[in-house]
Symmetry: D2
Subunit: 165 residues, 4 copies
């Protein structure tokens, strides 16, 4: 039976300390809800921190890697999907997630938010970045959600899943 | 010998009248410079208008289509690249362009701006959308250029090509 | 920690009864070894039968879908990766598998065998098709393995995993 | 107006002398017919030789590159489409071609023949490889054509274009 997949997207090497902390805690709470975590899979930033959080609780992690091998995979990824698609894999990240959480902001993350909304996926923005919040809220008001903290993020995911599933 | 390719990205069905007019004129000027136009190829909005402008002058147009056939291709596209990649083809659009012009703003266009900048491609924003201008200028100040009109866009392309090529 | 993934590829709608039976039994044995099954994910032929076999034992199944939604996913798939890549997703199928089993022969399966070998992945041919056996054995003798039945297939996977991992 | 595109696929580094000679001559004849040539774009084997043949006559060449830059592009490619898709770009090669010619045999070429036929594209096999001829003729008899030389290849393309277009 199809498992519920929560995608956590966010900066890699350029992630802030807050992004990393949020991602880690988010991973733990996602695992506690028995949802599966999907990230970009690399051993960096938000992808890695969220996956580490999940494994702390013993949950399951999927990593959708841009490369043609598992060389740079996070060691907290259970299931590595090797795409060799570069950044084109971002579209797979969002299509495969029931709900997308953008934890922090960066160029790759913005592409994922935009592709998610374009594919009619609900996207939760977990950051204090006002410009991106306003931009996406304006372009897709029904599917863009803004969360001030982890707790609200989890509550939003639950609310969204009730309507999506 | 490698031809210079200018990518013109922009909304499809949701393009404004200004976007369409700009795209058409931009196509004409691109053809006059003997550059090749690359778009998303569909028979809609900015993609179609820019291609029509090029053909008015007799230039060459490439369309990178998201679908698995040429059913929705603009009739102003000379060379149809059929990708069957959906929105993942946006990454090909930007990688294949020497300079990218975002003519208007929409979710697909935002994904292309973000992917372009992430791939270290110069991107010219031709729109009056302040939020996206500020967001991308902040995230990638060296590669984000802002143009107030078609004339400045063409001048920016010329300046950029001198340094890129 | 990275889980071992066994990819089972084979015809969809055109699968023979033997292909289906083999795929189902193979799925059961894969689950018994605690390996994760990866298939093309659709509700047809070898993909579906192998996934059903795994679920009979309570194992984990991944489906890499060609479409942009989960409309045609097998109900025996736990983790649906939605690629919207059409047949280009075949390359992901083989890159993400530690060992590939081609269960039966068809055009899609041939593309997967060829892409697997080109990406230096070990491929086991489980079919009586002499032409494809000879062709791939000639083009990639070290990575092409031929199995006469399910039991030998599992033994070959074990032997290969010892050298690959 | 849509231009007719002929895809010439074949081995890169492993191309035989015969493959290279055939590809070069084929390129010249394709250009004489005013068709556009599409190849995998790299500076190797059949891709490069066919493109060189076209440029000898002054025709137009498209190269669909697997990499994320134009570093390994053949200098006979006019229009470089940079995909960053690795071997997944093979599906684009075949989808974008009105007729596909497999000039020689290798693993990548086999994946392209199989993907071409699966996508209902006509494929001409220009090689003396009996196994692949029999295999593909059996799996897709209506769309698989066998040519003994360049002249017959061109004649087959003409015949096929009459029915396809």
């Amino acid at each position: 039976m199809r498992k519920t997949i929560i995608g956590v997207m966010g900066p890699g090497e350029l992630a802030t300390e807050t992004d990393i902390k949020n991602a880690y805690k988010l991973g733990k709470l996602i695992a506690k809800e028995d949802w599966i975590l999907l990230t970009g899979g690399r051993n960096a930033g938000v992808m890695n921190a969220a996956s580490q959080g999940v494994k702390e609780i013993g949950g399951i992690t999927i990593g959708i890697l841009p490369s043609n091998s598992d060389k740079n995979v996070s060691d907290a990824v259970d299931i590595a999907i090797i795409t060799d698609l570069g950044n084109a894999r971002n579209n797979i990240n969002v299509l495969s997630s029931d709900v997308i959480v953008a934890c922090g902001i960066g160029l790759g993350t913005i592409s994922e938010i935009a592709l998610g909304l374009k594919n009619n996926k609900p996207v939760i923005l977990l950051s204090e970045d006002r410009e991106s919040q306003q931009l996406f809220k304006r372009l897709s008001s029904d599917l863009t959600f803004i969360a001030v903290d982890i707790k609200q993020t989890i509550q939003l995911i639950k609310d969204i899943l009730k309507t999506v599933k």
